[in-house]
Each structure stands twice: as C-alpha cells, then as structure tokens.
C-alpha cells in the first residue's frame, strides 16, 4: 500500500480508540474494583467479582444463555439454509428482490419490531384471536413471556445474519462441480450432501458465529418477549448497570461474554485455516 494511504485510516482509528477501545479499557479496569454501599465505586483491586460469576445463580444463567444461543443458531441454520439456497437459484432480478426483503427489517427500529411480535403473540393478540375465531382453540394460548417466545424473537431477529453469509457462499459455488457430481452418478440429494454442503461450509460457520455471538449478548428480546421470568446474560448485565448499580460486577459479566465470544471466533478461525491448509 502507498505510504500516504495510511493517513486515510486515521480518522476511523481515532474514533475507535476514543469511543471503543478507551471505554473497553474502563470496563476491564472496573471489573477489578468493588461496589460501594450506594452504588459508587471503591478503587481497590479485587477478584471478588470474578469469583461471584462462578456462583451457581450466575453459572445457571450463563448456561441457559448458551443453550438458548445454540437453539437459536440451529433454528436459524435450519430455516436459513433452504431460504439462501432458494434465493441463490433465482434469476438475478428476483434475487435482488428477495435479498431486499431479507434486509428490510434492519431499516425498522429494533424495539418497534419486537413490540410488533408482542402484538401478534399476546393472549388478545392477532394469532390467538385468529385461532379463537376459527374455533381451533377454546382458551387463548400463552404464547408470550416464556422461553419459546424468546426463541421466536431471537430467530426472527438474527435470521438475516445466517441467510446472507450462506447466500454468498452458495453464489460462489461453482455449478460445474455439481454437474461433475451428477455426471459421476450422484443423485441431486447426494450431490447436495457431498458437494454443496462441504463447499458452503465457510458460509455456514460464519453465519452460525454471527448468530451465536449476537444471541449471547442480546437483552432487548428477552426483556420484551420473555417477561420477568426468563433472563439471559444480557439482561443480568443490563440490570447490574441500571438497577443494581453494581458497575464492577456488570463489567465482569461483560468481560466474560467478550472472552467467550473471542474464544469461539479464535476456534472458528483455526478451523477455517486448517480447512484452507488442507485444500492447499
């Protein structure tokens, strides 16, 4: 690269340093301090916050969060792959329309979208009213404020992050490789499992990482659709900062989420690297 070109990166580097790296360092420091009696911060080094993370209450929430993240990732993959596959087979004008439809929710406020789900799922909501009118049920189903509702909301929110990377890798797939497989006696379904899936694995892994990491830190969806009962790690962090006014412990939880995500991304990179090495 041209030496002068690096100056072009300075504005964004300064921005990120000031508003991302610097606050992140504050969070790291805070996680080693103590909470004062009235929510103030006592600047004394301690590891007590990290010890508290390993208390059963928080470990339980941590594992619940991981389970719901895994479920969300699986649902997004099962729903997203066929959708990506369908889009990648369309003519290019239809592809653009469908990709637009996938991305339109991004343009609408996240809170508004989540409340829209509340309107659909609540006991006097659209779905229950429809089912009651049709006589399919006698009592309204409790569709909201339970883990299923959280899962529905999470899958809805994060599905585009699965669809887009898989779509890209399907687009890059060389159709002649599929023809070669058919020519060698592979039925369409066997060609799919032996050729299409392995060759689109990078897209599958990228999409899964994006959805998984996105779910782990999520707090809006469980807050709005999960009610008081279900809480994920993101809600606990939010509570520590806003309600409990325990900034040091909130920081510790945040650091743990970041560490867990970084480990996952590291493992992903290593897997992709190994695969590329194998391919030469």
């Amino acid at each position: 690269m041209n030496n002068k070109g690096k100056y072009l990166a300075y504005p964004s580097l300064i921005w990120l340093t000031l508003f991302f790296l610097f606050p992140l360092m504050i969070i790291v420091l805070l996680s080693f301090f103590q909470r004062g009696l009235y929510g103030d911060i006592i600047y004394e080094w301690t590891l007590a916050n990290y010890a508290r993370f390993f208390e059963p209450l928080y470990l339980h929430i941590f594992f619940d969060t991981i389970i719901i993240s895994v479920l969300t990732t699986c649902c997004c993959l099962i729903l997203g792959y066929p959708l990506s596959y369908m889009i990648s087979r369309m003519s290019s004008s239809w592809q653009n329309i469908w990709l637009l439809l996938v991305m339109i929710p991004f343009w609408i406020n996240f809170l508004v979208r989540s409340y829209a789900w509340v309107i659909i799922l609540r006991s006097q909501g659209l779905l229950n009213t429809l089912l009651l009118q049709l006589g399919l049920i006698d009592q309204p189903l409790s569709l909201l404020y339970n883990p299923t509702a959280v899962l529905i909301g999470l899958v809805y929110t994060l599905l585009p992050f699965m669809v887009l990377p898989i779509y890209v890798s399907l687009e890059q797939l060389d159709r002649r490789k599929l023809e070669a497989a058919y020519d060698l006696g592979a039925t369409p379904s066997r060609a799919f499992w032996h050729i299409t899936v392995p060759l689109t694995l990078p897209g599958i892994v990228t999409g899964s990482i994006l959805v998984f990491v996105g779910t782990i830190g999520m707090f809006v969806v469980p807050e709005i659709m999960g009610g008081a009962k279900s809480s994920m790690l993101g809600n606990v962090i939010q509570n520590q900062f806003l309600s409990a006014r325990d900034w040091p412990f909130g920081s510790t939880l945040s650091i743990m989420v970041i560490l867990f995500s970084l480990i996952l991304i590291y493992l992903y990179n290593r897997a992709v690297q190994a695969q590329q090495d194998e391919r030469g």
Binding site: D174, R176, K177, E179, A180, A181, Y182, D183, L184, G185, A186, T187, R190, H194, I195, P198, L199, Q275, E278, R279, G280
Partner: protein
Amino acid sequence: MKTMISLDSVEKTFGRQIVIPSFSLSIYSGEFLTLLGPSGCGKTTLMRMIAGFETPSAGEIYLDGQRVTDVPPYQRDMNMVFQHYALFPHMNVTDNILFGLKMKKVPAAEQRTRLQQVLELTQLSDLANRRPKQLSGGQQQRVAIARAIINNPKVLLLDEPLGALDFQLRKSLQLELKNLQKNLGITFVYVTHDQEEAMSMSDRIAVMNQGRIEQLGTPEEIYHHPHNRFVATFVGENNILTTKSGVHRGRTFAIRPEKVILAPISGRAPLSSPLPSSSNPSTYSSPLPSSSAPSTHSPRHTPPFPLSPSVQPTNTPPVPHHHLGTIQDISFHGNLHKIFVKLDGEESIVMAHQYDTPSFQPGQQVTIHWHPEDEVILH
C-alpha cells in the same frame, strides 16, 4: 459397425434462439469422434445434451440402443471430462477418483483394485493424497480423466479438455489420450475448436458451423476433400480461388498452400514447395507428430502435416493454371516460409508454403502454378 450413440433429429432452442436445428448423427462403438467447430457453433450444447445436462427441445437420443433423451445425467452410463476439470476441491486425488464408485456403492475391495489400475494408467500413484490445488494443470487434467474412466463408461465425453494447457503439454496429453482410447476401447466424443488437435487424434471429425454438420469424415477426407468453403478454410490453410474463364467460369475451388509451386520469372526450373523427400510425411502415424519438426507459431492456421508427397518439380510437364504474380510478403514459421503472392491483374493473394530456404524476395515477380488434380472444387 455398431452404433453407440444415435442423435435423431435433435433440436435445441434457448428462448427464440435456435442453437441446434434438426441434427442427426451416429457415433460408432469404440471410435474417436471429434466435434470440431468455432466457438458458438453449438458443439458444447450438443455434448451437454448427450451428457444429459440439457434436454433437447425436440428429437431423441439413444445410447447403446436405449432411449436416454429424458434420463438424468446420473443415470446415463457415460462420463464427462470437463473443460476446467471441475475437480472437488475438498477431496484429495483418491477421493475425487473414487467419487463415482462410491455413488454407485461399488464394494470397497473392488474400489481399491480399480483405483490402483487407474492411478497407474494415468501415472498418478505418487499424487494420490494431494489436493487438486496442489497439482499442476496437466496433473489436474489426469485426475479428471481418471475420475471418469474408473467408472468404465460406455462413452467418454471430453469438452475441450486440453484447452487450458500450454502448447507442449497439450501435445503430449493428446498422445496420451489417443493411446488411452485405443487401450480402453471406449467410445470417445471429443469437442474442440483446435483443428490440429482434431486431425491428430480423431477417427472421424464432424466439422460444425451454426449448429449444423458441414462435413463428416476421416481427417484425411476433411483435409483433402473439403465439401465447401467453410470446411476448406476452417481446417488447415487454404487458398480460395474462382475460375475466371473457360468452361468452368465462376467455379470456386481451393488449393492448399503446400501445393502451390512458385518459380522466379527468369525462366529457371520452378521450385517446389513441398517437403524434401528426406523428411517424408509419415509423421502422421509416428507417435510424436510434433517432434519431427520445430513447432510453428500459429498451429491454428497451419496444416499439421503434409498428407501426401508431391511430384518433384524437375519432371513437371508444362501445365496450365499458370499465373504471374508479385511477392508481397514472406513470413517465417520455423519449418516453413509462407509466401504471399498477389496475382497480376487480380485482387487475389495466394499463399504458398516453402519448406526449404526461399530464394525469393518481396517485390519479386514470379510464376505461380499448381497441378489441376490438386484443385478441390467447392460447392
């Protein structure tokens, strides 16, 4: 001879565009048939219909007596070698080659023995654990061929398989392919736009243009007796001339550059253009056609080899078809010089091949003639 593939009035249209008008062709069992034509002539579409990747808009395709027009590719007993190999990047050489047998659920023991045979046949034994990306173009091509022939198909379809390789490698793989075809006895259908490649390998050539066969015949027939102007100019180099006077006035004929005899205007004995008798043109049957003479710059426009020895000029009786001309240009092609002569009082420029060092200069006046039996009348 037994017919292996039969195309019966096959047609293909994409939208309103007719790619292949009604097309019929019989391909015999065990023969090496080449579909030769310029790009866009429909040869690849035709091959894709034979393979089953395209369905004909009309007509029927038979493989070994069975109607296969609507049979999907994975149920046709034929295999294809793709233009860009289409190897599976996530599998090593062994898994690529075994893919077909695994799909057909051939027992593991048989898979192993057939793998060994094919690896030896294609000289890939040392590369069995490599990934496609770790192989050179020629090696990848060998894997593509091995992956196809391990299935013992009735027919092997080859879609410009050597197109992406450099000249020297192409030459040696041409020979390997030809030998492979002889040894295996499999019917080969070969698609290429390279007329030299077609000549040196094929039993029969179908010269195609705009979705039709212009001429079907052995390489010798195609070269020496082209039916029409397209074949005459597409296969090898040719001079196309029109008779200006006499009973055959207006008749178009072709005369190969190596048959054109030039002589200086001073009245010396005419020099012959063909090869000296010492290097006789039996190179056709020798295993290394390219090694006997330095390669030419432009194989596309050069006849691969003179196919018949010609008369020595010393005994040539005075012949008609004499013209006067002026040498416009001489170009050097290694084993020959191409001499371009403008006929006096005409527009035509005639090309002559001269295999020994020419004693001509550009601008020089020459007499130009050929034996009438070397003229090929075009229809």
